[in-house]
Structure formats: C-alpha cells, structure tokens
Amino acid sequence: MPKLIKGVGCPYCGSSCDDIEVLVSDDETKILEVHNACIIGTNLFHHANDPTRPKLPRMRQPDGSMKEVTYPEAIDWMAKTMLKAKKPLIYGFGSTNCEGMSAVARIAEKAGAVLDNCATICHGPSFLAIFDNGYPSCTLGEAKNRADVVVFWGCNPMHAHPRHTSRYSIFPRGYFTQKGQMQRTVLCIDPRETDTAKLADHHLMIDQGHDYELFDAFRTVLRGFDIPETVAGIPREKIKEAAEIMKKAKFCMIFFGMGCTHTDGRNHNIDAAISLTRDLNEHTKCSIMAMRGHYNIAGPGQVWSWQFGFPYCIDLTKGSHAHMNPGETSSVDLAMRDEVDCFVNVGTDAGAHFPIQAVQHLKKHPFIAIDPNFCMASEIADLHIPVRIAGVDEPGVVYRMDNVPIQFRAVIKGLPGVPSDEELFDMVYERMCELTNTQPVWLAAKADRKYPESPAVI
C-alpha cells in the first residue's frame, strides 16, 4: 500500500511551502505522486527517484577522468586538502538544512577558511542595507492576513516563487483580507513586462538601473516636495498616484528581489527601500521583505549570525576572530582576485552561477563539490561527494524567506551508504582533528547524540 505523507515542506524556492502531500511506495524508496507543489517542486521530488543518482564519491584522476572512491578516502582527501590550503573558500548552502550549515562551520574554523553562502550573488546586498538601515519586516502570515497594497519591486514571483502569490501575497483570503485578490491593489515596479507585471493593477516600467532615483522620488513626494517631470522614465503624475496608493493603504507590503539587489547601487537600492518603508509608517502600516531565492537560503544567515556574528562572507583565516567585508571577502571577489587556493561547493552550483572568469580562477586550485546530483560544479570538480537531498530523503530545519524556521521531514529512505551533509561534515571535521592531533569540540546536543556513552564536552 503506498503511503500518503501530509504536511511536507518543499525544498525548492524561498516560499518553503509546507502543505505538500507526497505519495510514496510501500518500502519508502520511491516517490509516486506529489500534490499541491508547483511544477518545479514536483520535479524536485521526482528527481530523487533518478536511478543514476551518484552513490559514491568520485575523484579526478591524472588523466582527467573521474573514478569512484570510497567515502573514507574522499573524506581523508578533503580534510588534508583543506588543512593544506592557505585560504580555502567554502561556498553554497542555498539548498541544504541548517544542521549541515552548523556542522560546516566547525570545518571552516579548523581550516581557517572563508565561509560564504549563495546570498553573496543573491540577497547579500540586502544584508548590507539591513546593517545600515534596519529591517522593518514581518512574517508572510501577516502579509497574507493584512496587506491590502502589495508592491513587487524588481522581482517576478510568478516564475521564481510560483506559489508565493497564491499562498501569501495576492490571492489568499486572510483575516483582514477576506476578499482575497479583490481587496488587494498590486503594484509592480519592473523594467520588463513580466508575468507578475501583467497581474498587477499598476505597472511602473522603470528604466533599468534607476531604482534608487525612484525610491528617492517616492520619499520626496511623501514629504510634500515636488519632483522633476520624469524620474527613472516614469512620469511625475504616475509616481504621485502610486505614492498615494501606498499612503492610503491599510497595510502596505513591499517585496523586493534581484532587480534591486543586483543592479547598480545594490545595497543602496534596498537601503532606500527600507527608508521608504520607514517613511510610509508615518502615514500607515508598511513592511518590507526580501524575496529570498532558495527554500533555506535564509538559514545560513541565521545559523552563522548566531555562530560568528555575520550572515555571509565570513573570513575565519585569523583563527581569533571573524572578519566580514563583502567586496573583499565575498566569493566572486576572492576568486577574481586570486585570493583563495581551495574551493568547496556545497548544495549549489558555482559552476553554473559564477562568472566564467571566477570559475577559471577557482579551477587553478583544488575544487571540491558536495551535491546529491550531477551538476556543472560536480563535473569540473577534483572531488565530488554525493550526499542525501535535504527535504526529500533527509529531514532538517529550514528558514523560510521571512526567517520563520520550519522543520522539514524526509519522505523516503536515503540511498544506502550515502551520508547527509551534517554527517559528512562531522566526519571531515573528525578527520581534520585526527590529522592535527586536536580534540574535536561538539555542542552538548551533538555530543550526546554522537557519543551517548560519554558525557558532553561543552
């Protein structure tokens, strides 16, 4: 009898939908059906059935081919390579659980590495703006129950977060928004006529790269001053009309995406958006939220901020303190400036996402990919270590885009012999401790679990 598992979390986008139902085979090894998820989420679950999934690590041979090796061999090679490197870079973590992120931090400290996550090429600038200007945000539940004006600025949830509009932002009927879409006014600010823009009541087709000026124009109008005839390609009257809509809202919700964080100005665009949110709160209630990309990309920000005080771009090379300054300690900058001599890619695909020059620099040195599947990074890597898929055959905590933690569950049994990210990193850490003749340090919870017979170290 196949089993229907309810309340499953989806390991795809930052919406982290937790209402998925998955029908699995009797022996819990095959996914038969996926209900409620979007097409991408559905495919992600079915992907776990792929019989060609790697089950053993593969090491690059002198002739350039890849040869399967055992896990202990791969762990030993990774531990030795990381200890030997002067400045290794560990990057990724968009698509794994918080347990793995926490475990890798121990390796990073031991190896004197730079620890970075996908935010560096995604919402990193949002963090910088939050450092500078605060983050007047809320949860997606509040957006659903209260927001009657929704602004999508430089983001396209219809494609990037397919169920965002139906679960949280446009269509759902909430406590104060019982008429759903009928009650909501949707503004979209985007240089292209995206599918989200088509859905919006007002589309402000901004000149590409002029978001900062438009934010400033909104703020100037809100303070009662006049603005030039057109700003960022949008006529004054249209800006005033949009400002009036936001001002008259009962609860205005601004969602922003890559269109703000990765055009000229980057963190300053978000900074201005946060200032606008603050100004709107003089008139009504307004909140702002980053449209985080992956289902647990908010996780490393949470986990590492707790461990090191910084969410990303954490330089641990000094051994005594963490140093963070994107532009210097960010992955792409480190790669382009040839500042690192070992690269570890975890749960993401730097081979596909980084500029080609950055990848070329990284490829001069040992390149390790840790990923459940074959990807571009795994195909150019010197060592590829497969792990279980978090959210499919490995449970764990994930943080949704509004920084709400959700416990994801495993729906099928993992491939025999394949460890989770956490288990793999713990084994690498233990090997590094052996090689350096030091005592591993575990948190109490982990020590109890790992060595139930001996008392906790800390």
Partner: protein
C-alpha cells in the same frame, strides 16, 4: 627623521595582509626587527621580511619615521592602516584598505589603489596619484559613523560609494566618479572635478558636495535655490546651489532646517 626602505622581493601567491606596515609599528625598531613584524597570507602567519628587503632603522617615534616602498604592492593590503603619524610612500600600486582608520600622518601612493582606501578615516592625509576603486573614505559595513576627518586626494578617478556615512573631512577626486557620492552623509565635503554618473547625495542629511563636471542623472530630491560664487580647492567658480535630499530627514539649527548642499557649475 629616519627612513625605512622596503623593497618588494616576492609577489605573494595569495594576498599579503601587511597590517604591520605603519610608522607606529616600525617606530623604535631596527631593520632586522622590522623584518620580523607579522603579516598574514591567508591563514599562514608570515614576516614582512618574507616579502620585502628592509633597509634603514626607524625613528624613535612614529612621527620620526618615514616608510618608502620602492615597488609594486598591488597584492599587499592594509598599507598605512590605523597609523597616527609619520609618512608612508609607495612608488607603485597598493591594494585594499590603504590608510583605513588612519588618525594622522601622510600616505602617498604613486600608482593606483584598490577599494576601501581611507575607510573610517579620522585624520591625516591620503594622496593617490592614480585611480582608486570603490568605497573611498567610506564607512565600514553597518557603521553609521563614517569618515570623520582628514583629507583624501585622488588625482585620477574613483568608482562608486564615495564618502558613504561621512561625518567630516574632505575627499577630492580630480577626475570622474561613478555612482553614490556622500550617500547617508551627515557632514564633510566631497569635491569631484570630473563627471559623475549619478546618485549624488542620496539620503544625505548634511554636508557639502561640489561636482565640477557633469552629473548625468540628478537625484530627484534636490532643488536649486540660488547661484553663488565659491572657492573650490583654490579656484573660484560660479556655481548653482542645490539643497537636498528632500526625501530624507533633516535637523534644525536656529529654527532653520539644515539641508545638504550640492554645487554644480552655473549654466552659462
């Protein structure tokens, strides 16, 4: 005055963090002792002597010490960072954080500089004969108290983020700049003699900016109030006076609202 000469003998494989290269760290030391001063290449603790041939002893105090680097330092960070007195001259390029957090003395880079030069500067003089990259005289990430004093003069051009969160001091860029000048600033003066792409004085509360070339995209929150004659870096110009950023909060002084000032050449 004593002069210590550093001759680069080896290019670091990664990047050398030469945080010891300041008159303060050199003061009272012999050439051999200076060669033993620490620096990092990645996680490896190195000595200055690993990358430089050092000649000449330092003076008794930082103020009595001149440092001359006779070659390229494009892979050496933190030259002159946190110094309080004395001079540092580099006859070539320098990497990031030149004169960062400096409180006094003088740094002269004869080539180009990378980003974050003069970050959080409090005093002294930083001169660059070439170009600088981004974040000249900027605040450290998340700090709302940026550059407080001193002078930065870049004879070439600069990138983006000039004088972010600036509170005081002067930045002079003799050629062009890209975007974001004096963003969030609450004081200080920025003079740009070339053209700027845009975003001059966004979210700016207080302070002065002079752009003697063209601003391609003006911030919507600035309004022209009058035309004045002003001396800028020793030359008098007829300038249009704008106030802003009207979208940002502003304090009051003697009952009058204090805006930030932007001066651009008056239309003929």
């Amino acid at each position: 005055m004593a002069t210590v000469t550093l001759k680069p003998i080896k290019t670091p494989e990664l990047i050398f963090e030469g945080y010891s290269i300041t008159p303060d760290n050199f003061a009272g030391k012999t050439a051999a002792q200076i060669a033993d001063l620490p620096g990092h290449e990645g996680k490896i603790l190195m000595r200055l002597g690993d990358f430089f041939e050092i000649s000449g002893n330092a003076g008794e105090t930082a103020a009595d010490t001149n440092i001359v680097i006779t070659g390229d330092c494009s892979r050496v960070k933190y030259i002159g960072a946190r110094m309080t007195a004395g001079t540092v001259t580099v006859n070539g390029n320098a990497d990031m954080y030149v004169g960062g957090w400096m409180k006094g003395g003088k740094v002269h880079i004869k080539g180009n500089m990378d980003s974050f030069c003069g970050i959080q500067m409090e005093g002294g003089e930083l001169i660059c004969d070439g170009d600088a990259k981004n974040h000249v005289g900027c605040a450290y990430r998340g700090d709302w108290r940026g550059m407080k004093g001193g002078t930065i003069r870049i004879r070439g051009s600069a990138g983006n983020d000039i004088g972010t969160f600036m509170l005081g001091g002067t930045i002079i860029i003799e050629k062009d700049a890209f975007i974001h000048v004096s963003t969030h600033a609450e004081g200080g003066t920025v003079i740009i003699k070339g053209d700027v792409e845009g975003r001059v004085g966004g979210q700016m509360v207080k302070g002065d900016m002079y752009v003697l070339g063209k601003i391609k995209f003006m911030m919507p929150g600035y309004q022209k109030v009058d035309t004045v004659e002003k001396e800028v870096d020793g030359v008098t110009y007829k300038l249009d006076h704008y106030i802003g950023d009207l979208g940002e909060r502003h304090g009051k002084s003697k009952g009058q609202i204090v805006y930030a000032n932007l001066y651009v050449p008056a239309a003929a």
